[in-house]
């Protein structure tokens, strides 16, 4: 068929043809024998090229491919691409082909009683699962999902939509207000934080059959004076980062022995005037601890904090004051500040590109190079959301993939290679838009009312997991990506 195509192209009335050198980085889909440069018609598009590669591979089931030329996806015909980039048709074009991302299919919903503000996953590929190593390794189908809700409860879910365990209520050492962040530290340890300004560490125990489980409070960490917006955990060094609306970044230890004593003024019992709180005070005594340090440099609420992907002594934070700051944790100093022009609400690292993706209140995602050598603040802008981008997660398989959750009620999957140049720099467009399943058949709401996405996690084994204002966690599986990687 390839020869047919070639003969057809040679006899067609459009004489322009280009030499194409096909290559791939994935060995499983590499061509059996190198065909060398192939002369193809320049009016071919992605689909025709994909057919061509499938023919060369002699695969019985056609695999959809995407084509990368000079690091960007081919979104037009070859002819238009050559014209747009000023490449002569006589030169040989190096074309790299990768598997196309298949639309993330809706899998399941986990219904809650209140808005879901935080989700996390425990699987063999999740950070907590990796840190636990083979000891805590979870087999496929044994994944656990952690969700934090505005009603103040943490819930552990099995993949069959069953609640295995719920955290205790406020009177029994639980959160006294809404939870805004929750993370797995290890398969048996959880961390959560919220509007009650405390970080709580929990012990999670599950009987071997996996039918009964319990969450018991372990440590309460006091120190923030306003609600905690996000948590980042690093189990190997037993450190927790917290971003708070009191403009500080908190550094905490998960170990009771490491942590200093809690500041007494912030303990709930210290407010004699707080009748209600006193009455509802915890009956069970949970150890209370303070922060290792509170890092003050931001001038507005800190929205997100992460550890640097390769170095747990470095942290990045974003804040409403438009700045992205780099912190050196051992010395508790701010080493670098990158100022953008919008409030930053979320942060995620793209380690292979040494870029940080920051979601803004101005409805886009900015890719920032945090390295001191970087000359420009914003490397790229991803546009498409219609409301604030409050959550980001990197694709665990691809170095270029990214998913974002926004208050407009959608999650968008991005590939940073799919971009074009505009006058304000490189601008990317989303590959896929994941709508909320609860909104099906309805018009999009103003301001994402009722469907806002608050947190999104991308896990290799499960897929894209997002929780939001529609009181449910929605799981979408990127089937093509996930399944074929394993194959």
């Amino acid at each position: 068929m390839a020869t047919e195509t070639l003969t057809a192209t040679s006899t067609s009335d459009s004489p322009s043809q280009v030499r194409v050198l096909l290559s791939t980085r994935h060995p499983d889909i590499s061509l059996p024998e190198n065909p060398g440069p192939i002369l193809v018609n320049t009016n071919l598009r992605r689909y025709a090229l994909s057919t061509l590669v499938n023919t060369l591979l002699q695969s019985e089931k056609p695999i959809p491919f995407e084509f990368l030329i000079n690091g960007t996806f081919l979104r037009t015909s070859l002819d238009e691409y050559l014209t747009a980039n000023g490449i002569s048709a006589e030169s040989t074009l190096g074309v790299e082909y990768v598997r196309a991302i298949i639309p993330p299919l809706y899998l399941a919903s986990f219904e809650h009683d209140d808005w879901v503000s935080a989700v996390d996953f425990l699987s063999e590929t999740s950070p907590a699962g990796k840190w636990a190593g083979s000891a805590g390794a979870r087999k496929s189908g044994q994944e656990r999902m952690l969700s934090g809700s505005y009603d103040g409860f943490l819930r552990i879910w099995s993949m069959s939509s069953e609640v295995l365990a719920t955290s205790p209520s406020a009177s029994n050492g639980g959160h006294t207000s809404s939870i805004k962040a929750a993370r797995y530290i290890s398969p048996s340890h959880l961390a959560s934080a919220g509007l009650d300004r405390t970080i709580r560490l929990w012990k999670y125990s599950e009987d071997p059959e996996g039918f009964t489980a319990s969450i018991s409070p372990q440590v309460e960490l006091y120190g923030h004076k306003a609600s905690i917006e996000s948590l980042a955990v690093h189990q190997p060094s037993s450190r927790i980062l917290s971003a708070s609306a009191d403009h500080t970044l908190g550094l905490w230890s998960t170990k009771k022995s490491d942590a200093p004593a809690a500041p007494t003024s912030l303990l709930p019992s210290s407010t004699s005037q707080s009748f209600k709180r006193r009455k509802m005070g915890p009956s069970t005594s949970t150890p209370q601890r303070g922060p290792l340090s509170l890092l003050k440099s931001h001038t507005a609420p800190v929205s997100h904090a992460i550890f640097a992907p390769n170095d747990h002594t470095v942290a990045y934070t974003t804040s409403w004051d438009h700045a992205l700051k780099t912190w050196d944790l051992p010395t508790s100093t701010c080493v670098d500040t990158r100022s953008t022009s919008h409030s930053l609400l979320s942060l995620s690292a793209l380690p292979a590109l040494s870029l940080l993706a920051a979601g803004t209140s101005a409805r886009h995602i900015t890719l920032i190079d945090p390295r001191a050598s970087a000359t420009t603040v914003s490397a790229m802008t991803l546009r498409g959301h219609t409301n604030a981008v409050v959550s980001l997660a990197a694709d665990p398989e691809s170095n270029y993939g990214l998913v974002s959750g926004s208050h407009d009620g959608t999650c968008r999957v991005w590939d940073v290679r799919s971009s074009r140049s505009e006058k304000e720099g490189r601008v990317g467009e989303s590959l896929y838009v994941i709508e909320r399943e609860s909104l099906k058949g309805e018009r999009k709401k103003v301001g994402g009312e009722g469907v806002k996405v608050f947190d999104v996690v991308w896990d290799t084994s499960v897929g894209i997991v997002s929780g939001g204002e529609d009181k449910r966690v929605q799981v979408n599986r990127g089937k093509g990506m996930v399944a074929e990687k394993g194959a």
């Binding site: 409403w320 209140s361 301001g447």
Partner: protein, 774 residues
């Protein structure tokens, strides 16, 4: 010769015939009656005389005719000879008729006699009959008398009784007597009357006179007073030979002949009058030409081309201008190829007058006399005069300015970013209108109050309701305001005439206890100082709102007796002012938190107070009444300035954080920018809303933004940059209209507030929602 006497004789006979008499009678109708009378008399006198008279009359007649003719000898002789016969004949017939004729005939005779003559006296004194001339009219000759006519003349038929015949016909043959029936026959005849029977005997034939059918009908018609002639139609249908109707196919295409034309008599009279007047010289038809006066003073004119001789072309030689010879087009009847067709004609008519290639349109006139007058004559004359009058003598340089350059340089919207453009969050939860809302100084919380009497605190970004308290059931929360400063979270709310101070339990224990501390500090002062302070202002008592509310965080309550509409805090958070528009003298009150003290700074206030504000940097207090804004110096306690926005009803105003500029929103849909250094009048008036403006706010966090909220459901965002340079005016650029709030019962957006640091705006709508715009 032979014929003449006959004719003469006949003439004589006919003259005496009844028909001739009839004619005479009709001619001399005047004396008919007298003559008739005479005739009757003469008839009654005697019959013998009649003959003499007749004879003499014939004589006379003859003589007369002689006299009249003055005739030839032959005629005389002939006349002399023949009349004797004639006389005798005439006599015979006359007599015959007289005797034979019935009453009717006799009467005829009697009638005819006097009509023919006049009796005069001759020379001898004898009566002389002078007969009138006989008019030889048609029918006077009876030569066509029927052949079988009896020629015996006018004698009674009884003369022939003894003969077997009754007379002679015209050929002299005897006319045999008709056989007479027996008496019985006569009787039968009398009984069985045949049609047309008259009972008379025809004198001419001697047969019984029978009337023919025709004659009977004639008689009948006469009886019926109809015209005797049968075919006569007294009312024939009018044949309209001449009519006003135009016929499609006229009988004749001939034009009306001149003879048909009847000149108006009246007009001819008038013309004749004029003609007469002209003839008599009363009217002078032409004005006598004025006597030519040679004007010697006149400017001499020369025709420089009068004696022009052809010269070679030279710049100094101006030849006589040569008019082009007229073309065919200019003819009154141009050849058909020069005539414009319909499209050309239309194109010419549609074209602008200046764009036409020729000034006239070739037109076909059948005759030169049909060429109309030049219609543009007057216009062209006028324009020529106008040209001469207005003709510029100097080339006028046109003002060559690009109109774009006259427009003010507005910065592009991209440069003015950031500003709110879209609705990011909806805050749904209030039952009824949301009357007021405010973002807390840290920028994390949003407080709102509405018609349902509750005050709610929301998480700004997510729209999550964090805390809520119900302050009243009937009345609406009119205003909620945070106390400035981040060291404590204190919310003030006004519901009805009550003002509440609240420390909502949303902060950490330190902040909460600080807030309680601040609010509770005044209790002791109030207890101690109230007794010493006997001033009127202290009449307002600050109290605890009761344990239920205290548990919720509502710590202080006081009443101002009238509905509180506006609360505004001093920047330090120590004082706040309230405005109750309905309270006349106590409309504006200033409250001190630390002392729980209420003061009424104005003993008397002109106008209805609308709003009050503390100046952001100076000890100045601004109070807006319906039409003016007054600024007072708090330290010197005096009036500084009266700002006159020129509006009918001020709804709200705000001071720029710099302190020198003011925006005023009015119920008459205007947004006014005042530069306090410049004038007391508005520097700029922005009239973009369709409905009343409810609220105006400057961004207090350093961004050059301000916004207004209107009842038309929209918010408008403006860029308002104030530079420190006194020489430069503020830049005001409209940026964005934010639509989304529904309009309910004529109310749209009721309140708005800016985020303290971000370019975010929150708005409270009558539709029960608050919105965050980013």
């Amino acid at each position: 010769m032979a014929s003449q006497p006959i004719s003469k004789k006949r003439k004589a006979v006919t003259r005496d015939s009844p028909e001739a008499d009839e004619v005479l009678l009709s001619d001399g109708g005047d004396d008919f009656e007298t003559a008739l009378l005479n005739g009757i008399q003469s008839q009654s006198e005697d019959e013998i005389e009649e003959e003499d008279e007749d004879a003499s009359s014939v004589d006379l007649f003859e003589g007369d005719s002689d006299l009249r003719d003055g005739g030839t000898s032959e005629d005389e002789i002939a006349s002399d000879e023949v009349p004797s016969d004639v006389e005798s004949d005439a006599d015979l017939t006359q007599n015959g008729t007289a005797t034979l004729g019935g009453a009717a005939k006799g009467k005829q005779d009697v009638e005819e006699l006097p009509a023919n003559f006049q009796i005069t006296k001759d020379a001898n004194g004898n009566p002389r009959y002078i007969y009138t001339d006989i008019d030889p009219v048609y029918d006077s000759d009876d030569s066509d008398a029927p052949a079988g006519q009896n020629t015996i003349g006018n004698i009674p038929l009884s003369f022939y009784d003894s003969y077997p015949h009754i007379g002679y016909d015209i050929n002299g043959k005897k006319i045999a007597r008709p056989a007479k029936g027996e008496a019985l026959d006569a009787l039968l005849d009398s009984i069985e009357v045949p049609k047309g029977w008259t009972g008379l005997t025809d004198p001419a034939t001697g047969k019984p006179l029978e009337l023919s059918q025709q004659e009977l009908e004639v008689l009948k018609r006469i009886q019926m007073n109809e015209v005797p002639d049968e075919g006569y139609d007294p009312y024939p249908a009018t044949v309209e030979y001449f009519t006003g109707k135009t016929e499609t196919m006229p009988l004749s295409a001939a034009p009306e002949p001149k003879r048909r034309w009847i000149p108006s008599k009246h007009e001819s009279k008038r013309i004749m009058k004029i003609v007469r007047a002209i003839r008599e010289g009363r009217i002078l038809p032409y004005k006598p030409a004025p006597e030519e006066e040679e004007d010697e003073v006149e400017v001499k004119r020369y025709d420089i081309w009068a004696n022009e001789v052809a010269r070679p072309d030279h710049p100094m030689n101006v030849p006589a201008p040569k008019l082009p010879p007229p073309g065919y087009e200019e003819s009154y009847r141009p050849p058909p190829e020069y005539l414009p067709d319909r499209n050309e004609k239309k194109a010419w008519e549609d074209a602008d007058e200046e764009d036409r290639d020729k000034e006239f349109l070739p037109t076909n006139h059948v005759a030169l006399r049909n060429v109309p007058g030049y219609e543009k004559f007057l216009k062209e004359k006028f324009e020529r005069c106008l040209d001469l009058y207005l003709a510029p003598r100097v080339r006028r340089s046109k003002l060559n300015i690009d109109p774009e350059s006259l427009l003010p340089q507005l910065p592009s919207l991209e440069e003015l970013r950031p500003f709110p453009t879209t609705c990011a969050t909806l805050f749904r939860g209030h039952d009824g209108r949301v009357r007021s809302l405010t973002v807390d100084p840290s920028g994390v919380w949003l407080a709102s109050g509405g018609d349902d009497g509750t005050v709610k605190v929301w998480e700004l970004l997510t729209g999550r309701q964090i805390w809520s308290v119900k302050l009243g059931n009937e009345e609406a929360v009119n205003v909620v305001r945070w106390r400035p400063g981040t060291e404590a979270i204190i919310l003030s709310a006004a519901i009805g005439d009550h003002v509440y101070l609240i420390a909502p339990p949303i902060g950490d224990p330190e902040i909460e206890s600080k807030g309680r501390e601040i609010l509770d500090a005044g209790w002791g002062y109030a207890a101690n100082g109230a007794t010493s302070n006997t001033k009127k202002e202290s009449a307002t008592q600050w109290t605890r709102p009761g344990s239920r509310l205290e548990e919720e965080g509502v710590l202080v309550k006081f009443s101002l007796r009238k509905t509180v509409k506006v609360i505004s805090w001093h920047r330090r958070g120590e004082y706040f002012s309230t405005v109750c528009p309905q309270a006349q003298s106590s409309a504006v009150a200033i409250h001190t938190i630390s002392k729980h003290l209420t003061q009424l700074p104005f003993r008397k206030l002109k106008g209805l107070a609308q709003s009050a504000l503390f100046h952001p940097s100076q000890p100045i207090f601004l109070v807006a009444t319906q039409r003016y804004i007054r600024s007072y110096d708090l330290s010197k306690q005096e009036l500084l300035k009266i700002i006159q926005p020129g509006a009918r009803w001020i709804s709200s105003f705000d001071v720029h954080p710099g302190g020198d500029n003011l925006i005023v929103g009015t119920y008459d849909r205007r947004l006014l920018w005042h530069d306090l250094e410049l004038s007391v009048r508005p520097f700029k008036t922005l009239r973009y809303h369709q409905k009343a403006i409810r609220g105006v706010k400057f961004h207090q966090g350093g961004l050059p933004l301000f916004a207004d909220a209107s009842d038309d459901g929209s918010l408008q965002i403006f860029h308002g940059k104030v530079v420190g340079d006194m020489m430069e005016n503020a830049t005001i650029v409209p940026l964005k209209v934010l639509r989304g709030h529904g309009v309910k019962k004529e109310l749209g957006v009721l309140d708005l507030d800016w985020h303290p640091t971000q370019p975010w705006l929150v708005s409270a709508g009558a539709d029960g929602t608050c919105r965050l715009w980013t």
